[in-house]
């Protein structure tokens, strides 16, 4: 404090490294910061509460009759699809808060402080878990109101939300990386839409792959990784089991995470 005496540099106990415990605590503090900002700005809830409701209603009533004959038959197909879509569109914007900090100068202050370098990244992206969970709960609630009753019960619902949340969190590192490499935030979100839209729609998220022409079917079932995630969620909700797709999706996203954590950290250090 200005009115107290400052402890001279030579009487301080100083360490030239940040331990793992400190790194986790720093990330927690910055996740808390991101959450506080989120709750001080309730208009952003439109993104992850209103949109999932809208998508669920839209797809169910628009395609329900055409694809599955009636609405109640379509719900088991569309609910996992919308769950995935809402989480993944949310994670394309994961880097925007980081970018804001970089552009405003907050990052410079973080950099001048004795905190873990990864904390601002990890904190910001981890706070997004709240968005994915809220999106997931919204999707299932809307589905429930429309008459959807997953065979495998509530534990399967919770597990699906957690699974999609984890996948979205891993993917958000990729989008954070993109947003730190582009010149402006709007370019980054445009890239997010361009990448995410084809991946979500050219998958089995909304339409059974069996109805698609040969080559497209091959892409949807064998190339697009999102189809595996959708399949995992459907299988979970219907039979309450996990199969090869689960392990495939899990190892794929983990591999992505291992590659993109260091890449994003490098991009962040360069930008700040």
């Amino acid at each position: 404090m200005p009115n107290t005496t400052i402890l001279p540099a030579n009487q301080r106990n100083l360490k030239n490294r940040v331990g793992v415990g400190r790194a986790i605590r720093n990330s927690g503090t910055l996740a808390y910061r991101a959450l506080l900002k989120m709750f001080h700005n309730p208009e952003i809830f439109v993104d992850f509460v209103v949109l999932p409701v809208m998508f669920t209603l839209l797809f169910t009533f628009l395609f329900g009759g055409a694809i599955a004959g009636n609405i109640s038959n379509y719900l088991p197909i569309v609910i996992p699809g919308v769950l995935l879509m809402s989480s993944f569109t949310n994670c394309t914007t994961a880097g925007s808060k980081l970018r804001e900090d970089v552009d405003k100068g907050t990052t410079s202050r973080f950099k001048s402080m004795p905190i873990a370098r990864i904390a601002p990244l990890a904190g910001s992206l981890t706070a997004d878990l709240v968005r994915y969970v809220m999106g997931g709960i919204t999707v299932f609630t809307t589905g429930y109101l429309l008459g959807y009753r997953p065979e495998a019960g509530i534990s399967a619902v919770i597990f699906s939300i957690l699974f999609v949340m984890f996948v979205a969190w891993c993917l958000s590192w990729v989008f954070a990386f993109i947003s730190l490499c582009t010149k402006t935030i709007s370019t980054a979100s445009a890239i997010g839409v361009v990448v995410m839209f084809p991946l979500v729609f050219l998958s089995n998220a909304f339409v059974p792959a069996e109805t698609m022409p040969g080559r497209l079917q091959y892409f949807v079932l064998h190339i697009n990784p999102l189809s595996h995630v959708v399949t995992v969620v459907r299988q979970l909700l219907t039979y309450g089991t996990i199969g090869a797709d689960f392990w495939f999706a899990l190892s794929g996203t983990l591999a992505l995470l291992l590659v993109f954590i260091p890449l994003t950290l490098i991009a962040y250090k360069r930008k700040a």
Binding site: M1, P2, N3, T4, T5, I6, L7, P8, A9, N10, R12, N13, L14, K15, N16, R17, V18, R22, R25, N26, T29, L30, Y32, R33, L36, K37, H40, N41, K104, G105, T106, S108, R109, F110, K111, S112, M113, P114, I115, A119, A272
Partner: protein, 326 residues
């Protein structure tokens, strides 16, 4: 690696040698050396684009110098970065606090990042808010804060860990005169508590008011490093400007002034005279002599040397001309 080395209080807070930073073809900082004794205020003075911020960024571990070395309290910024970061506080030109959060929340989050418990962070936050006269707006969203309040809060954030060295990058640019004076008082108080301060400024009077030592930077080079008195002496301190009521008396007045100030008198306009004045006591002599000679005046003012004049004296060209050149 704890601090076991023998470091005494007489060690320099900042010791920089031959700092160089280039951006493309532009040598933003071109061989800057600085040494700041513990417990003093160093003012880095220079026009926009002189390399002040780039220099601070290298001293505060934000960017790596292309050449040269920096020691902060004897610790190397490149190899002992995390130690240096525990010893410094930085208030940059851009407000680095969160618009969406309240003043106290901002302080508490930074307090937590510095490793304080929730209770301690809250206590320190409240103490700082009181110190900076922001207690009654502690729980208000920052979007309703004025520029001066933001600047004070930003400074408060960099004081959370009670760092012995504080970097202030143009702390008063854009502030109104009253807030500016408050900021000056705060800075003086910091130094009284034992802190060392490095501040950059574009204003000579600010450096003069606060600094024990002024480093003038231009085009990435140190062009002068002196006490405020020394610097002003080299510039020619202040000058006296007189406007004579009757233009016919101008020549007569000039002769009287020349006689008393023992300096060359410039005729700025038909009835305006400017002369360098190193001793303000001579002012009364000048005025009484003019009165005795029956010369009436319509205006008297003392001109303080501006940054522009400092530059003119030090480099032979004005900072304005340089900007246009670039």
């Amino acid at each position: 690696m704890t601090n076991t080395r023998l470091k005494n209080n007489s060690i320099l807070a900042v010791e920089a040698h031959g700092l160089v930073k280039t951006f493309g073809d532009n040598r933003a900082v071109d061989g800057v050396s600085l040494s700041i004794p513990t417990g003093s205020i160093c003012g880095v003075l220079g026009p926009n684009g002189a390399g002040k911020t780039t220099t601070i960024n290298m001293l505060a571990t934000l960017s790596k110098p292309d050449a040269g070395n920096v020691k902060i309290f004897g610790y190397d910024v490149l190899s002992e970065t995390q130690i240096v970061r525990q010893l410094i506080g930085l208030t940059g030109q851009f407000a680095s606090i969160d618009e969406d959060l309240t003043a106290l929340e901002n302080l508490m989050i930074f307090g937590r990042l510095y490793g304080y418990s929730r209770q301690d962070a809250r206590r320190i936050g409240n103490e700082l808010l009181a110190e900076f006269g922001l207690s009654d707006v502690a729980s208000r969203s920052l979007s309703k804060f004025s520029g001066g309040m933001r600047r004070r809060l930003d400074l408060a954030v960099s004081l959370i860990s009670q760092p012995p060295l504080i970097f202030l990058d143009e702390p008063t640019t854009g502030l109104d005169p009253r807030t500016r004076t408050q900021m000056w008082q705060t800075i003086r108080k910091l130094v009284k508590g034992g802190s060392t301060v490095l501040l950059t400024t574009q204003y000579l009077d600010e450096a003069d008011q606060l600094a024990d030592n002024i480093v003038v930077i231009d085009k990435g080079r140190v062009v002068a490093n002196d006490t405020p008195e020394g610097l002003k002496r080299s510039v020619g301190s202040s000058s006296l400007r007189l406007t004579v009521k009757d233009a016919d008396h101008t020549a007569n007045a000039a002769q009287i002034i020349r006689g008393i100030l023992k300096a060359k008198v410039h005729l700025a306009e038909a009835s305006e005279l400017i002369a360098p004045m190193n001793n303000p006591d001579k002012l009364t002599d000048v005025l009484t002599s003019l009165k005795d000679a029956g010369i009436a005046l319509s205006g008297v003012s003392i001109l303080q040397p501006t940054l522009d004049e400092v530059f003119f004296a030090l480099t032979g060209e004005s900072s304005q001309a340089k900007k246009e050149e670039n």
